[in-house]
């Protein structure tokens, strides 16, 4: 890979025809880095892919969080970001008694949700779609949120490979929480091992092929 590492304050590129993207800043004629990471250039847009640090929430992200508290009109959900997420009662498609929110989700339950809005007051979550909602069974693992793109792969190629090989259902949250659900524990553990293999080798180029080989060795 020719993407190079950069540290804050370093000059990335000089020239008027480039645009500063995420994690960069234009000062005078040059584009300077504001974060530590790898430089990526797409259509003259320079951005930095962070390699470490905490999860930064973004609108549209699918996240897996834990119910931390219950309000009179919704649930407070810890999504591993600086701010907690809020899941409103209105998101539940059926009638819920306002005194009995616990019946839908209790404190400590895991939930798959989407960030649909972010404002000063906090992060609003939504579960109004297929595949979202409370998690009833399966296994939860946590990885470094910066490695999530590698686990998902190009257009979900990596996740679908693991799904095909293990027969498990896998949901990857952008915050680094992964939900694995399979018929047997052995299958779930195999999927977990595969994901750990990816996170340990996330800089290897042609990783999808490597993972295929890894699965063949396991059989």
């Amino acid at each position: 890979m020719d993407r190079k590492a950069i540290t804050p304050g370093e000059l990335i590129i000089e020239g008027e025809d480039y645009l500063p993207g995420e994690g960069t800043e234009k000062r005078g004629k040059g584009i300077y880095a504001q974060k530590f990471g790898l430089v990526e250039e797409t259509n003259k847009l320079i951005r930095i892919i962070p390699l470490s640090g905490t999860y930064q929430p973004r609108r549209g992200n699918v996240v897996i969080g834990k119910v931390e508290n219950i309000n009179f009109n919704g649930w407070i959900i810890d999504i591993g970001a600086p701010e907690n997420g809020f899941l409103s009662l209105m998101e539940v498609p059926r009638y819920v008694n306002k005194d009995a929110l616990e019946e839908v989700m209790e404190i400590g339950d895991m939930v798959v949700a989407k960030i649909w809005n972010m404002n000063k007051r906090g992060i609003d979550l939504s579960i109004k779609s297929r595949g979202f909602g409370k998690i009833d069974e399966g296994m939860i693992i946590r990885i470094n949120p910066n490695k999530v793109p590698r686990v998902i792969g190009k257009e979900g190629s990596m996740v679908s490979l693991i799904k095909d090989e293990t027969g498990c259902n896998i949901t990857v949250g952008q915050n680094g929480v992964i939900w694995i659900q399979g018929d047997t524990i052995e299958k779930e553990l195999l999927a977990k091992e595969a994901i750990m293999f990816i996170t340990e080798n996330c800089f290897v180029s042609g990783l999808t092929e490597e993972v295929k080989k890894w699965f063949e060795n396991k059989k």
Partner: protein, 234 residues
């Protein structure tokens, strides 16, 4: 004027052996180690996370909080563990040295915690601490305008030297020792300077130039350490 010889035989503008490494504390969001010879500092960064207690939250911009701590086994005579007047002061000074480069205003109501621990001390501990903290902040993915590098400039009698060690700090011949820790950004601007002792205006200017040169060297080492961490994973 008699010529002064440094106790460890270094040249006047020579730094001690520097080692730097990032990602040494797996539980932290960002971490780094930095050492000047026998002085070793480790820094861990946690956050951005919600500021607690709530009354300390600042809705306008985030907060940077530094704690400096000298571990009890870091010096020859056992140091009493825990915070004391000196460590509180150095923590605050470190905060001021770092805050001009850390773009913390993007995280209102949040706090970034920087914990600096000195595991072995032989003078210039605050400089090693600041250097480690700057690397740890970058490693934690906190947006920054640049990096900072810190070095202590000393005056032994009338001779300016770079990077004091403990023996030189306790220099007693002639005018004695003056210790000037200075912190520079990678663009050569000063973010922190302290001075203990006496110095003339002219010599102070010389000391700053000497520090600027030394900090350039340190900056290159910091940059290399961060980049090596990426290559190691590759």
């Amino acid at each position: 004027m008699t010529t002064i010889k440094r106790p460890d035989g270094r040249k006047f503008d020579e730094l001690r052996k520097i080692e730097a490494k990032v990602g040494i504390i797996p539980n932290a969001d960002g971490s780094a180690m930095f050492s000047f010879g026998d002085t070793i500092a480790i820094a861990a960064v946690y956050g951005p996370k919600k500021m607690h207690p709530q009354h300390m939250q600042n809705p306008e911009k985030g907060t940077l909080r530094c704690t400096y701590n000298m571990l009890s086994f870091s010096v020859t005579e056992r140091a009493r563990p825990g915070q004391n007047r000196r460590s509180q002061e150095i923590g605050k000074v470190t905060e001021w040295a770092l805050s001009p480069i850390v773009l913390i205003d993007k995280y209102p109501n949040n706090v970034v915690d920087v914990h600096i621990n000195i595991i072995q001390a032989n003078a210039s501990t605050r400089c090693a601490g600041i250097n480690a903290a700057a690397m740890a902040l970058a490693h934690a993915g906190i947006p920054m305008k640049g990096m900072v590098s810190s070095v202590s400039i000393g005056k032994l009698d009338k001779q300016l030297v770079v990077d004091l060690c403990k023996k030189e700090e306790d220099w007693e011949e002639g005018e004695g020792a003056t210790d000037i820790p200075i912190t520079f950004t990678n663009e050569g601007e000063i973010t922190h300077m302290q001075l203990d002792g006496k110095i003339t205006q002219k010599q102070l200017k010389e000391a700053i130039e000497l520090g600027r040169k030394a900090c350039k060297e340190i900056y290159e080492i910091q940059k290399k350490a961060l980049k090596d961490a990426v290559d190691e994973e590759k």
